[in-house]
């Protein structure tokens, strides 16, 4: 006790002696010290306040209800709000129309930023569109649209309207000869777009058969359609009459082999290898009974035809 008191007394005494020794020095340094202390206190208090504010926001997130978004019209404003001033943990959006691609991407980005997004759109027709090339020298494209039954589908490409269809069996299909740019399908206000993405390489067709009307006109019909045709037509045991420049039967050269009759049996082993490598084979008439080729058939000839596909192509 005596020591503490003596230490405090020593400090106080020193302070008194300083004060009495230099009054000017006391006021400048004290003022400066006081100012520093004051500013430090203000800084500390500010930091504390900001910390408390941020902790408060984290502890109490807002969950907005569906009613907060008035259909699609208020979606943009709501998305702007949710992306800036607010950071909701979850949102629910009721759509009365298909939002624009920008809005769709924005909603997806919101979900990616940590907000749980749920949406509903009972009035929206489920719509999907695909465009694929058809293996045909005329280079048509097949347009497939998924839409609710009974709905009208309007198709157009970059040049204008293509056709109008009625969806049946879940959608509709159209084969268009010349599709330019992106294809749009409009279904009750909803719109889907797609472009032909696949590329197709058309190769030659090989016709195998006996020399005669059938083979001659089969080859001529294919050539008229635009296919490049090679033909090996059996004329005698010694050899064939050839058309074009028949080469090795492989997928690098031929898109398809057309076998018209039993004379194709001579090349059946090579055709079998070709088919197993992915080549196409059309077997007609007597060729279906050829042992070497019959094994390649997906089904036995003479059965009932399979039912038509799900999409009805009509307008």
């Amino acid at each position: 006790m005596r020591r503490r008191g003596s230490a405090f007394g020593a400090v106080l005494g020193s302070l008194r002696s300083r004060l009495s020794a230099s009054p000017r020095l006391f006021s400048a340094s004290l003022r400066r010290a006081a100012l520093e202390r004051g500013l430090r206190a203000v800084a500390l208090l500010s930091l504390l306040a900001l910390l408390l504010l941020s902790l408060r926001d984290l502890r109490a997130p807002s969950a907005l209800a569906a009613d907060d978004v008035d259909g699609t019209r208020g979606l943009r404003a709501a998305l702007a709000r949710w992306s800036t001033r607010e950071a909701p943990a979850s949102v629910r959006v009721a759509l009365d129309a298909v939002p624009a691609p920008v809005m769709r991407d924005w909603i997806a980005a919101l979900a990616g930023a940590g907000t749980r997004v749920a949406w509903s759109g009972r009035a929206l027709p489920a719509t999907a569109l695909a465009v694929e090339p058809v293996a045909d020298p005329a280079r048509p494209s097949r347009v497939l649209v998924a839409a609710p039954d009974g709905r009208g589908v309007a198709l157009e490409d970059a040049l204008g309207p293509l056709d109008s269809l009625s969806a049946r069996g879940g959608g509709a299909a159209l084969t268009a000869l010349d599709v330019r740019g992106r294809v749009r399908a409009r279904v009750a206000g909803a719109e889907a777009t797609a472009a032909v993405r696949d590329s197709l390489v058309l190769r030659r067709v090989l016709v195998l058969g006996r020399a005669g009307w059938e083979a001659k006109f089969a080859a001529a019909a294919l050539a008229e359609r635009g296919w490049a045709v090679d033909a090996r037509l059996a004329v005698s045991p010694a050899g064939d009459a050839v058309q074009g420049s028949p080469g090795a039967i492989d997928t690098a050269r031929y898109a398809a082999v057309v076998a018209l009759d039993t004379t194709a049996a001579r090349l059946a082993p090579r055709v079998a290898v070709y088919v197993r490598a992915g080549g196409g084979l059309v077997i007609a008439g007597e060729a279906a009974a050829t042992p070497g080729l019959a094994a390649l058939l997906a089904a036995a000839p003479g059965g009932a035809p399979s039912p038509p596909g799900r999409f009805a192509a009509d307008s």
């Binding site: 020399a211 059938e214 037509l233």
Partner: protein, 206 residues
């Protein structure tokens, strides 16, 4: 339309279409002898103006007399060639100055257009589609027999449609060369009807 190839002789109104009666049988014999084509054992005679013409992939037309097609014959001939048929018109006189040649070529150009009848190059696939004839159309023993123009005709002429020969015109008198009984071939060193086999094979495959 049967699967068999029936060789036909064209009947036309203005001339002696029947002047080579043994030719069809001889040609049928050769086709059957050398190839595996399903050829009918008997030929047919069909009107040039008739629908039946379209059922035969190979038709032979010959004669000695002036040729004047009727409108129906001309129309049907055009249709036959355009639809993939193959008709051989052979001058039984082997005479480029003769009445058959002058009138037949006139009728052909009247039907298919001026300049439609063109010289067939001797490298055409017609000369190699079965037997090979390196020098073009084989000569006949009748071209230089003192009758007709007594010339050797080195070329045949053709009306070409879509890259294929639809009508073949000949001054070489194959109608005389092949107008014999098939059994006589066994006495010949070289079968003269082999070129006829080429014609039938071409008709069946092109």
């Amino acid at each position: 339309m049967s699967a068999e190839i029936v060789l036909a002789t064209a009947m036309y109104e203005s001339g002696d279409w029947e002047s080579a009666p043994l030719l069809p049988a001889n040609l049928i014999d050769s086709v059957a002898r050398y190839t595996s084509l399903p050829v009918a054992p008997k030929g047919a005679q069909v009107p040039l103006a008739g629908e039946e013409l379209l059922e035969h992939p190979f038709v032979w037309l010959t004669g000695h007399l002036p040729v004047r097609f009727t409108d129906a014959e001309r129309r049907n001939l055009i249709r036959y060639v355009d639809r993939g048929g193959f008709i051989v018109v052979d001058d039984h006189n082997h005479d480029v100055g003769g009445v058959f040649h002058r009138t037949a070529t006139e009728e052909i150009e009247r039907a298919f257009g001026r300049g439609a009848l063109t010289r067939l190059p001797n490298t055409h696939e017609l000369y190699s589609c079965f037997f090979t004839f390196r020098d073009g159309p084989p000569a006949t023993s009748h071209e230089l027999n003192g009758w007709g123009d007594n010339l050797q005709h080195d070329y045949l002429h053709a009306v070409v449609r879509g890259g294929r020969v639809g009508l073949l015109y000949s001054n070489k008198d194959y109608s005389s060369e092949w107008n014999f009984h098939p059994d006589s071939k066994r006495l010949m060193a070289v079968d003269p009807t082999r070129f006829g086999v080429n014609l039938v094979v071409y008709a069946a495959t092109r």
